[in-house]
Symmetry: C2
Subunit: 218 residues, 2 copies
DNA sequence: ATTTTACTGTCGCAAAGATGACAGTAATCT
DNA sequence: AGATTACTGTCATCTTTGCGACAGTAAAAT
């Protein structure tokens, strides 16, 4: 996927500043002016919007190494469309618009890499739509957990991912468009059949193959 | 939204060739090599994938003036991820990869316009996810019809869009992830309350404000 | 260490919507 | 025009899942 070159990374480190957000802190809110982008150093970030009835709806989760707040800056859209919140203790590099645009113009490759990145995200997003239509709740939940395993974990042995996920059932429900209670039962099913390994309230292990059996088709 | 400059349009007309697809014809299929992009001159194009169980799932509908097959070419993804089918009699301009890439390198503005386009599409796609989570079936159906009114119709009087949509209930069901029967009842509700005006099996009028009352929140 | 808070488990009811069946109707074909 | 095909309307039934309620438990705060 997206990979910064050494020079690009060095430039970003130079012009950006590190900020830490504790779990639950809001990084930016929908409606705010968009003058900066962020590069996630560590932690998970939820991209969401709060509906009129107060319900939160997540449209994506971003992982270490990924940019957030990019779309608005690239398309000169002055206001944030979605909010971003730290799901963990999160460390980001904040880069102001001007510095970021300078990066685009100074590093010719970077711009085309960004274009590819947006294509990838579009594809990813379309796949999410596809999954929403094709999979009932358990499939969607399994898919989200699989993505978390892939992007925030590391393989321990064949098919067994070691992760450290303290994510509430409520949060998962917002991502898959379901209810807290349903997520609760499903997670227990997954736990019973060995797809998930818990330690207290933290998911520490994910058996990729086992979990995949809950997904329809594809 | 996306607007070609006169020079760009002229270039595309020169290097591209017009092809007509009758209703129902497949323009490209998932899994095929992706060596070309298309610019829709007229008609609606469904972007979809056929699931293992034979069910079709649409992730987007593209309208006149929009490109299709773009993401794969821009990100050098060699295979089509989704299929494209003419929902109407469709006329497209086909542009081969090389000519398209030449356009990108020869017209400096074009590339940044494409980047913005992909950002817009990402946003649109994320909004679709949001709508899926927030709205029950009737809301999703209303949203799709509204988009069709906006992009494929023209305003007749205040809030009343004149359209010519011959789209089957089955097709709508694939777009909103519902069943043919449910769409049938909903369309009748919409018709009864004046949101839609039919002529035979063709939707010819859409009352935007009335239809919007079916949508949750936002 | 105790209290408080936040999160989880589970149950029962209600609502939404999927599915199968079949009749009815518009559109198309010959 | 008549026949065929493709699409639509509607109903009865069955699943899924949402929601309220409340008890239980882990984690955090004091």
């Amino acid at each position: 996927m997206f990979q910064l070159s050494e020079k690009e990374a060095a430039y970003l480190d130079k012009v950006g500043s590190v900020i830490n957000y504790p779990k639950g802190q809001i990084i930016f809110s929908a409606g705010q002016k968009s003058n900066e982008v962020y590069l996630i150093k560590s932690g998970l970030v939820k991209i969401y919007r709060t509906a009129g009835d107060g319900r939160q709806v997540s449209v994506a989760i971003r992982y270490p190494g990924e940019f957030i707040g990019l779309a608005e800056v690239l398309s000169d859209y002055s206001e944030r469309e979605y909010s971003a919140e730290a799901m963990d203790n999160v460390s980001v590099l904040i880069i102001w618009q001007d510095a970021f645009k300078k990066l685009i113009s100074d590093f010719p490759d970077f711009s085309s890499k960004l274009l590819k990145l947006m294509c990838d995200r579009l594809r990813e997003s379309q796949n999410t739509i596809y999954d929403f239509i094709m999979n009932p709740t358990q499939g969607r939940l399994a898919l989200v957990l699989l993505t978390m395993a892939e992007r925030a974990g590391h393989e321990e042995k064949e098919g067994m991912m070691k992760v450290n996920l303290r994510v509430t059932q409520e949060e998962l429900a917002c991502v898959i468009g379901s209810s807290r209670q349903t997520v609760s039962s499903l997670l227990n099913l997954f736990k019973e059949d060995g797809s998930l390994v818990y330690e207290g309230r933290e998911i520490v292990g994910i058996d990729v193959n086992q979990l995949r059996t809950w997904i329809q088709d594809s």
